[in-house]
């Protein structure tokens, strides 16, 4: 460690070393295990008992290992129940790992739940002082920062009214303002920015960005990939309690979205007999040889229909879904006057989306086959095939394009200044 400290900017602020944590879903058992753990803790029982699973236990966090350096902003991604919050709580020091070591250097701030410790009967001002003290600020510290906290929270003169009368948004803003004005070296943020109005969220991200630029390290858990993209450079993806990815944010985000899509319940629907089904959808590889594309690439998919008897005048509908926003749109063969018959055993149709207008993210393409009759639904394969758009990186703060869809657009200046 002494060698590392010669270059403080490279010393990790957070070191997570082979960390695992056991968890038990059954409450009765969990309480009993709590008792034995208390006893073992008190008697300092040696041995490997901490790392051994008891009946009903599993590793909620399984062998996770990473570092966070000064000025780094890590997005911790993963489906619900992947172990993100447990990991965050261990880093926050709320409980100990069962295996491994976590080292945190510098003052740690955790936004795990905003406004914890707010008393509804007391005024906003009084609560700022209490909450500040909980987060480790002295009275003098808070005095010095009070005005900027008040300013940031946009609460205004109601600061002297009881917090009971505040809206959820106001409480949230006040909580965020206090927590981020304590100048932490390491900040943990768990989903708290999912709420609040867009304007304030933007302000929060801006503030966080400023803190990160000044050297703060940030670990942020959120499902809102589009927002994280503004601040994060690196992503850690957790899936089924393990860390499955640690690297570039864009890649991690796309991987996470693909996991989200795969987690959708499979509901391949069919009517009547299984004489005709959409059996496979294959995305044709991109120029890089995988299912990762850039905005504007041509994306093609081969859709295979397996049938035991022929079907004349079939129709097909393809829909594109985004992991973030749901179904983006669909189109069907009659639109392009494309006609085809299904012939046994297999019929393959190719669909191409030229110059795909989608921005960074994970998407699925699913397909439905219909008979010639208006209501003759035959089969839908869902989830279908997934593909990712990994480039370009969307711009933030109104500096370029962002969101899900690329819009064709043009600008004109209309109020041309009068000629002299």
């Amino acid at each position: 460690m002494t060698t590392a400290s010669t270059d403080p900017s490279r010393t990790p602020r957070v070191e997570v070393r082979n960390v695992s944590k056991k968890y038990c879903r059954n409450l009765k058992r969990s309480l009993r295990y709590g008792m034995t753990d208390l006893w073992r803790e008190m008697t300092a029982r040696p041995g490997a008992w901490r790392g051994t699973l008891r009946p009903g236990e599993f590793f909620a966090v399984n062998n996770v290992d990473f570092d966070v350096r000064p000025g780094e902003c890590i997005a911790l991604l993963g489906p619900n129940g992947a172990g993100k919050s447990t990991l965050l709580k261990m880093i926050a020091g709320l409980f100990k790992p069962d295996i491994g070591t976590i080292t945190v250097r510098g003052r740690l701030g955790a936004l795990i739940e905003l406004g914890t410790g707010f008393n509804p009967i007391l005024s906003g001002r009084e609560n700022v002082y209490v909450n500040g003290a909980i987060l480790g600020l002295s009275r003098r510290d808070i005095d010095a920062r009070f005005d900027s906290i008040l300013d940031f929270s946009e609460v205004g003169e109601v600061i002297d009214d009881p917090v009971r009368t505040y809206s959820t948004g106001m409480r949230l803003r006040l909580g965020f303002a206090v927590a981020t004005h304590m100048n932490p070296r390491v900040l943990l943020v768990d989903e708290v920015l999912a709420v609040g109005d867009v304007g304030f969220r933007m302000k929060c991200f801006n503030h966080i960005l400023k803190l990160v630029e000044s050297g703060m390290s940030l670990i942020i858990v959120s499902h809102a990939i589009g927002q994280l993209n503004r601040v994060s450079t690196r992503a850690i993806v957790m899936h089924k309690h393990q860390m499955i990815f640690d690297g570039d944010f864009t890649e991690g985000a796309a991987l996470y979205e693909r996991i989200q899509l795969q987690h959708q319940p499979a509901n391949s629907e069919a009517t009547g007999t299984e004489r005709c089904v959409v059996s496979a959808i294959d995305i044709e590889p991109s120029p890089n040889g995988n299912a990762c594309f850039s905005t504007g690439d041509d994306v093609s998919a081969r859709i295979t229909i397996t049938a035991s008897q022929s079907l004349a005048g079939a129709r097909m509908r393809v829909a594109i879904e985004s992991a973030r926003t749901g179904v983006l749109g669909g189109f069907a063969t009659p639109q392009s006057d494309f006609q085809f018959d299904v012939t046994p055993p297999r019929t393959v149709v190719r669909v191409t989306l030229p110059r795909i207008p989608l921005l960074m993210g994970g998407y699925t393409l699913n397909a439905t086959v219909f008979g010639p009759g208006r209501e003759e639904f035959i089969h839908r394969l869902k989830p279908g095939a997934t593909f990712e758009i990994t480039r370009p990186r969307p711009a933030s703060f109104g500096m370029g394009e962002d969101g899900v869809v690329r819009f064709e657009h043009k600008w004109e200046l209309l109020n041309a200044s009068p000629k002299h």
């Binding site: 900017s9 695992s20 709320l94 740690l108 007391l122």
Partner: protein
């Protein structure tokens, strides 16, 4: 990622921990930075360091404790009509019960009490109330703050400090009423000047016992229910509403009941200016020191385990 090896020995973790400069590190600005190392190891491997950490957090949490104390008191009285009167109501109500029982002739407990029975009982009740508050404080405060405990890191000991401040606050309010009563109805004794200290002797003891039952009480609600049932019984077996029995030292129930000797000491000195229980009271004062230290250790060790189990 490979699967975790469940047999990684904690010894290896310990070694890694020992080589770590876990004291403090200096950053570029030359400012001391706290370094927090979390390992699976039990803190009991080094109980002295644990006590040191506990003391440090107690100090670090003093301002927070005071804030929370202020918050609780303000919050409490802002939503009550009678306000501070509530601090004095429990011992007063308890005393009233016994006065009524006595007047009705249901009991004859004051045969050998040579002062005003009401003052005798109310003094005992005030002392008892402080003891019971201290005893119940750890479980109550950890329960009341479980949400904060499972979401935020802050010096855990500050919760206890807040409780102690509240206990002393309530005691102060009660003494303001009690002291004039004592002077008027029981006569002046110099011990009245030491009344806060005399009552305070019971607080570390109550707190220590409360700390020892808190972890179990957080896991199983049975403990809290048992306490609710046991406290009135405990009050009866403590000489509050009746005089110090004959042959006090001969009856082990008197000096084995932790509340009894110290309560008798405080009450006797305040009411009569003298007491017969010096020895057993001194023994309990001495004993309460290691008990309290043990309770603090247990508190510090158990909270992470409890947070893990109680957090949603």
């Amino acid at each position: 990622m490979s699967l975790a090896n469940p047999h990684i020995s904690p010894g290896a973790v310990d070694d890694a921990n020992d080589t770590d400069p876990s004291g403090a590190e200096t950053d570029a600005a030359g400012e001391e930075e706290p370094v927090q190392v979390m390992t699976p190891e039990s803190g009991m491997k080094n109980p002295l360091r644990l006590l040191g950490d506990s003391a440090r957090d107690l100090w670090a949490g003093r301002e927070l404790a005071y804030r929370m104390f202020q918050r609780n008191i303000r919050g409490l009285y802002r939503q009550t009509f009678l306000g501070i009167f509530w601090a004095f109501l429990p011992p007063l109500a308890n005393t009233a019960v016994w006065l009524i029982l006595r007047r009705a002739g249901a009991i004859d407990l004051a045969g050998d009490i040579e002062v005003n029975y009401a003052v005798y009982v109310v003094t005992g009740m005030v002392v008892w109330q402080s003891f019971v508050e201290a005893f119940q404080a750890p479980l109550q405060t950890v329960n009341a703050n479980r949400n904060m405990l499972s979401k935020l890191r802050f010096p855990r000991e500050s919760l206890l400090l807040t409780s102690v401040m509240e206990i002393f606050f309530n005691l102060g309010v009660r003494l303001v009423v009690l002291v004039p009563l004592l002077v008027v109805f029981a006569g002046w004794t110099p011990w009245i000047l030491a009344s806060p200290l005399l009552v305070a002797l019971l607080i570390p003891l109550g707190l220590a016992i409360g700390l020892l039952v808190m972890p179990l009480g957080m896991l199983y609600q049975d403990v809290g229910k048992l306490i609710a049932v046991a406290v009135p019984v405990w009050m009866i077996i403590t000489p509050i509403v009746y005089g110090t029995p004959e042959g006090w030292n001969a009856n082990p129930l008197n000096w084995l009941n932790p509340a009894s000797p110290l309560l008798t000491l405080a009450r006797d000195l305040l009411v009569f200016g003298e007491t017969l229980v010096w020895t057993s009271a001194a023994a309990w004062v001495v004993l309460s020191v290691p008990l309290l230290l043990g309770g603090m250790l247990y508190y510090r060790l158990s909270l992470p385990v409890l947070v893990e189990r109680i957090s949603s």
